[in-house]
Symmetry: C2
Subunit: 403 residues, 2 copies
Amino acid sequence: MKQATNKLVAGVETIGFELNRAALQARRNTKWNQYEPDVLPAFVAEMDFAVAAPIQVAIERTVRDGDYGYPLRDGKRVEAAIASAFVTRMKALYDWDVSPELVMPIADLVQGTFAPIVAFSDPGDGVILQTPNYPPFREAITTTERQLIPLAMRDDGTRHVFDLGELALAACKTARIFVLCNPQNPTGRVFRRDELLAIARFVIEHDLIVISDEIHSDLVYGGHRHIPFASLGADVAARTITLNSATKSFNIPGLRCAVLAFGSDELRARFHKRIPSRLLGGCNIIGVDATVAAWTESQPWLDAVMAHLTKARELVTQVLRAEVPDVHFHVPEATYLAWLDCSQIKQPGSAFQFFLDQARIGFSAGETFDPACEKFVRLNFATSIPILEEILDRFVRAIKQTA
Amino acid sequence: MKQATNKLVAGVETIGFELNRAALQARRNTKWNQYEPDVLPAFVAEMDFAVAAPIQVAIERTVRDGDYGYPLRDGKRVEAAIASAFVTRMKALYDWDVSPELVMPIADLVQGTFAPIVAFSDPGDGVILQTPNYPPFREAITTTERQLIPLAMRDDGTRHVFDLGELALAACKTARIFVLCNPQNPTGRVFRRDELLAIARFVIEHDLIVISDEIHSDLVYGGHRHIPFASLGADVAARTITLNSATKSFNIPGLRCAVLAFGSDELRARFHKRIPSRLLGGCNIIGVDATVAAWTESQPWLDAVMAHLTKARELVTQVLRAEVPDVHFHVPEATYLAWLDCSQIKQPGSAFQFFLDQARIGFSAGETFDPACEKFVRLNFATSIPILEEILDRFVRAIKQTA
């Protein structure tokens, strides 16, 4: 294996943002401190990279000045700066027109899922969620006592797909909300226009609200294209709340700050009937500065990161296909996450625990994305090539030793 | 006037945290940018001071490392670090025992008022609020379609007091919540034990929930003592949600981060029936580091600030009593805010507008604290002595010119 990967590594250009293991181990983040030091972390969705220079410059300016009071930016409330940066970016990337008045900056990303569920449904109502899916979506549905209506992502041999016809009529009757995660986590799917149009027809037919989490939209690989759900048309937008943030793609999750974009005035008004805007909290100034710098000045960094992730994805694919062909997975169309079906492991219990014990790799456990997926792990490959090589090496050896 | 104030200034020790006007005008905060450059701001409650060194050191460490991922501190979730710092501080300052499990860090302060109102009442229910009061409390009650039941703070010639007997029986029947702001903003009152016990008896008798905002509790002057409302007894705690934050007294409002402390497990459980914890968002890491450094390492800075504010308060008192005795006010027992009754101004309209136009001072407008108070302004005197002298000088001259 070493040979194969070394050859591939030769093609990887050195980019300034990759952190070496010493730098990573000095961090105080969850990724590098959750497990014992001999475990290589490949779980929580942050990247082992330094942030973009414009982000760091913006943060350092505010910190140098100790300017931590109630902030303005360019003489305006910071919410306006965030909304403006988001609207400009959506227009440039997707030719999607968003009204700045309908963009609501919020303190933190995850609350952006909880809030529309609370606003647009009642306990007992159904919420459709493609499964497997990001654990906080499951949590947002169950802790609010809504009924999770799963829509399975099925492996058609080429990719993970879904069939809306599988949703039982009874489920459709109780459903009030469709939670769409696109690009999808953990499968890495970027839904095509025809798939999104099918969802659009479905939600209009059943009069559902759509919470469209597009947090991974910056992380789409060549050959695929992200389409904001609300951009499909006015009738779709009028029932869609889009959730986005710079925290994922620009690697600043600890700084918080996100946006909810409402597809119509009426939708926003309905939301505020239940969720007064200040209930969700304001953005902190460091998160604001970082987010605006990310969205307005940091595309070159993101381009370089995507070039690196493209190589890392190739490495993962080449090694796994060559060395452990029984591990089923599809090359992700977006995200730095690979959803690995490790059903060939014969030990009882979760694949996550197996690899933690036998390979000293800390994956994300499949069962947290879907209780039925305990033989899956989610690999985060957003790290340097040497660390990724070691993860893959440990993974392959652990599997071969059980064969 | 100049002579009198100069004498007083001679007694003010030079302390490192006071910022000069050039430094303040270079800031991008609301305080120094809301008005034209010739206006001296004395409104929004932040101080014209540099933050405590331990806060700056903590922030600079995280920024230097660019460590913006999902954070841990001391190997634990950051919420535990905040809760621990808060609990330790409450025990040390007030001998108040708070269970760390009942301390809920939240992304931002103001949501801490909105959330319990939403959780513990329904539209149409009554919420008792001492008036005048901090505008967001009024907003939290009215935008959630609750009924504001005012409890007037009356000037007894010595201080502002309240009489629970004034609350009509009808109002008591619809009331579900008592919002207590102690120390009180804008009157600067620190409620005595007998006053708090009267409220305690009242809320028990009428079975009310108490939202006790104690955000100014660090800013109490000699001769007065803050008593956490929930520390009055288990029966009181069981109906009290205490709200606090380092953002006010340690001058870091833009960094956000606050805590809700529930007085009992049952109260917390009731709250979460309506407000799932993640709806309120997580704290950003800069706010976390700043808050923990404030509560655990920054008392010497706060002591120095209080010494300065004590001198500034003396200066305000001496100048106003000597020069404009018709301006009624009571020396605040806490806060760096003075609530000035300027009824002697004969012009129609608000005192705020008068002083903005005639004195080029940007006070907080009294009418935002109570519609009946348009002849009041709130003075923020947390600035350097030279700037405060100029504010007082402009204030006195504007009044004398209309006499």
